[in-house]
Symmetry: C2
Subunit: 224 residues, 2 copies
């Protein structure tokens, strides 16, 4: 299909207040504290919590882990993390569609990051706003799942540009969805050539070893 | 699990500029023109385009249909709609995470709504921002899919409060996902007692007749 016949109009976006300075301060403080801070982003239902729970179970003997759960409302995710035996706090964003660096900083007043070797932020489920806000993270992680489709890097290019790592989740549903692995890798690398991409299933554990081994090495390098 | 042990902190949201006046003007104009305007909202990958394409194929002999495709970037969806034989326009939001009434109004300068009996807006894929902006629509439609999980009304209550209709999509994947139909209906109705809910598969067509019959009657009542 050609795009010749499609008219395109652009409408202006609001100006987002920059929070880069606060983000940089958080990143420097975390580096001094040797806290590796992972900002986990994804669509609703892509499997953020399930992926975190499996990652935590693989690493919790080696590292002291904390989880900040950001949601518009509800405390279900923080409860799941506590049940898994790690410290967690629920952050309510009161309608905001993403965490920014100021919100992270305020949350850390109640949840001191220096106590942790590895801190996860489970951001609000959304492929737009979280990509626009630097949280001060050490690593930006995006989880894309098979049911969402392999065209998402085309539609949400900023998200796939700001990530260091993309996990392609729910590969156990491969017989149900037409998801082209090669196409998604090509689309992500066109935006972000250095992005690490892992195919896995947080439900079955398939493909998880490579992701966990990679994260372990990144943390060790960072803390060395 | 009890939530007693979960600490909750709230961070302030920005003030969203109200666009209710523009939305109301659009709604009144559409009513005069007898254009039924459906604002389609969902997570990325929930099946908005596939659902629209099947709905259009069922109704295009009866109604003159137009589609406004809103995306951060890309024109793939507008191309699909044109290939299906309906007029469409691609709106680029330039980073904005939802269409608001002003953006709809500007888009309608290039895509006159009075030419259509039925106008769809495929909003940006997101369960947060689109719920906050009145677009001037006649009907707000949310599509939730089985892979996303039945807990989404708990996490995105505003979205499920502002819709007149929720379509639960991808029911053909029922053997793959633990999705509790009764629970999701209960959760939606707790927020929004009058919400109409249809279970269907845009891929196979299962359950589609009831949805299309309902939409047809709503349009006829509106235009009478």
């Amino acid at each position: 299909m050609s795009s010749k016949n499609v008219r395109v109009i652009s409408v202006n976006r609001s100006v987002f207040a920059t929070n880069d300075r606060i983000a940089e301060e958080t990143r420097e403080q975390m580096k001094r504290d040797k806290t590796f801070f992972v900002n986990v982003m994804a669509s609703p239902g892509a499997g953020k919590s399930t992926t975190l729970l499996r990652t935590i179970s693989e690493l919790k003997e080696e590292f002291k882990i904390g989880v900040m759960e950001a949601d518009i409302d509800a405390t279900v995710d923080a409860e799941k993390m506590q049940a898994a035996g790690v410290d967690s706090i629920q952050v309510h964003t009161e309608g905001e569609c993403a965490m920014n660096a100021g919100m992270v900083k305020k949350s850390l007043e109640s949840f001191p990051s220096e106590e942790y070797d590895l801190l996860f932020l489970e951001n609000v489920g959304n492929l737009v706003c979280p990509a626009e806000e630097d949280t001060g993270s050490t690593m930006n992680l995006e989880i894309l799942s098979y049911p969402e489709g392999d065209d998402k890097p085309l539609k949400y290019p900023l998200m796939f540009s700001v990530c260091q790592v993309v996990l392609i989740n729910k590969i156990d549903t491969r017989d149900y969805f037409d998801f082209d692995d090669d196409a998604v890798v090509e689309r992500i690398h066109a935006l972000n050539p250095d992005c690490k991409i892992f195919f896995l299933s947080a439900k079955t554990g398939e493909g998880f070893d490579a992701w966990v081994a990679y994260l372990r090495e990144e943390i060790k390098d960072y803390q060395a």
